[in-house]
């Protein structure tokens, strides 16, 4: 059996049939909040159980518990607030107890939400507790200070999927869980990524895969920061890597549509919980997981796991690794006795620079097939 969903039950809040049709009809006369697709994908995540046990946006009790204790009110580990913010103007158009519609900016109704609570919150504390800083040069903090002054909590039910350019690569937890079972996998390691793969990533994945039945590569697809790899580039690069360098039945790749929060340690726990819901029993946590700039220590995202003995997914920690010319392969300080002058580090910045100038990184850093795939795009990076 793969992992137990967080909280013991996979949430499913997707309306179908007549009830869905009736709500779509009624939606025309209901108060509506319009939001960008990048935000609404988290409604889909709630409805399809990626964020189990959440059944909607957090009310103040859960929000405060998550902020200050890193646990939901029912004691389950949870580190990132999942909240719906509204402006003063929107606040005047809805009331507690209302059923409202969440729609795309184009007017497509995505979900019906019962407004259980409208509440205020402290943005300084949100930033300080979740991101450990109030510095607005941190992209997550900047976003918090741009949010509306009120939060709305309440259950959601999905009525339409958010337009998805990557539906071919999209699987929900009930699907991955059945897929893993069909493949005969009892242990599955999840790999979070927002990068095209270099040889270091492959080393980490294959090291982990040695000890489990299957590898679940689960790139985060959604709003990222400037200079990150574009989503389509990441997917194509991974397809190339899997095709040429992995046994066919040991790997599954599908996407995790959500935005990066860059909350470092807290986001590592959040990422692990989502992968647990997808069915993973293990989760790879590398150096500076979900970090940005120098806001977090290199291994803070690993250390935080010691606070959660009840997480229900086993973290696999990887520290420093490099290509060693003397060893003739990727190694780490525990496996390689050689000095720095024969070691090539996997610098993402260096690899990006080479690719930006149209240069193919050396095979010690990146598989040639993967580099070619990336370079086949006019601009592989987010502008």
């Amino acid at each position: 059996m793969v992992s137990v969903p967080h909280g013991g039950k996979l949430v499913k809040k997707v309306l179908r049939g007549r009830r869905r049709e009736a709500i779509i009809e009624a939606a025309k006369d209901m108060p509506t909040l319009y939001r960008p697709n990048e935000f609404l994908v988290d409604v889909v995540n709630i409805a399809h159980g990626v964020f189990s046990p959440l059944e909607g946006f957090m009310t103040s009790d859960d929000f405060n518990s998550v902020l200050y204790n890193m646990r939901l009110l029912n004691d389950l580990p949870w580190t990132i607030p999942i909240v719906l913010d509204i402006t003063e103007e929107e606040r005047r158009s809805i009331a507690e107890g209302d059923d409202i519609i969440l729609a795309t900016n184009d007017g497509l109704p995505i979900a019906i939400m019962n407004v259980e609570e409208i509440y205020t919150y402290d943005k300084d504390e949100y930033a300080e507790y979740v991101f450990k800083t109030r510095d607005i040069s941190h992209p997550g903090v900047k976003k918090v200070y741009e949010m509306g002054n009120y939060l709305v909590g309440g259950e959601v039910h999905l009525i339409n999927d958010v337009p998805n350019p990557y539906s071919r690569y999209t699987l929900y937890p009930e699907e991955t869980r059945i897929l893993f079972k069909e493949r005969g996998w009892r242990t599955v390691v999840g790999f979070q990524t927002r990068n095209a793969p270099h040889l270091g990533h492959e080393y980490v994945q294959k090291t982990a895969l040695t000890f489990v039945d299957g590898l679940f590569i689960n790139p985060v697809i959604g709003r990222k920061k400037r200079g990150d790899f574009r989503d389509d580039v990441i997917l194509k690069a991974y397809e190339t890597l899997i095709k040429h360098y992995y046994p066919r039945n040991t790997v599954v790749m599908s996407i995790f549509r959500t935005e990066m929060r860059y909350a470092g340690p807290r986001e590592a726990i959040f990422h692990a919980i989502a992968r647990k819901n997808f069915g993973c029993t293990h989760f790879i946590v590398g150096r500076d997981h979900a970090g940005v700039g120098n806001f977090y220590g290199p291994y803070e995202a690993q250390e935080i796991f010691s606070e959660f003995p009840d997480l229900g997914i086993t973290p696999l920690f990887f520290r420093e690794f490099f290509y060693c010319k003397r060893c003739g392969g990727v190694a780490n300080p525990k496996t390689c006795p050689h000095s720095d002058d024969v070691r090539i580090t996997f610098s993402g910045t260096k690899i990006r620079k080479m690719l930006l100038s149209g240069e193919v990184p050396p095979p010690e850093l990146m598989r040639p097939e993967v580099a070619e795939t990336i370079l086949s795009f006019d601009n592989p990076f987010v502008e």
């Binding site: 137990v4 969903p5 200050y68 204790n69 004691d75 699987l171 059945i178 010691s306």
Partner: protein, 82 residues
């Protein structure tokens, strides 16, 4: 917000559970020099681990055979299953 209100907001609700004094003393000695700052912290940590383990044992996938067939069909169409 004053300091007292701040403290109240951050604190979790707690209740009391009795354990033998001898066990309390053993734990107190055990956690000396560790990251645990109190016997309560230690007991909470251990209980969370044990409770999660027992919750896991009680779980079974809730899918019906219709669910499984529908999903397998989608997985085949997407190339995830043969």
């Amino acid at each position: 917000m004053n300091g007292e209100e701040e403290k109240k907001k951050v604190e979790r609700k707690h209740t009391t559970v009795s354990i033998p004094t001898s066990l309390f003393n053993r734990i107190k000695k055990l956690i000396e020099g560790t990251g645990f700052t109190s016997v309560s912290d230690y007991v909470t940590y251990v209980l969370r681990e044990v409770v999660a383990m027992h919750e896991k044992e009680k779980f079974s996938e809730p899918f019906t055979s219709e669910d499984v067939e529908r999903i397998k069909e989608k997985l085949r169409a997407l190339g995830y299953l043969d």
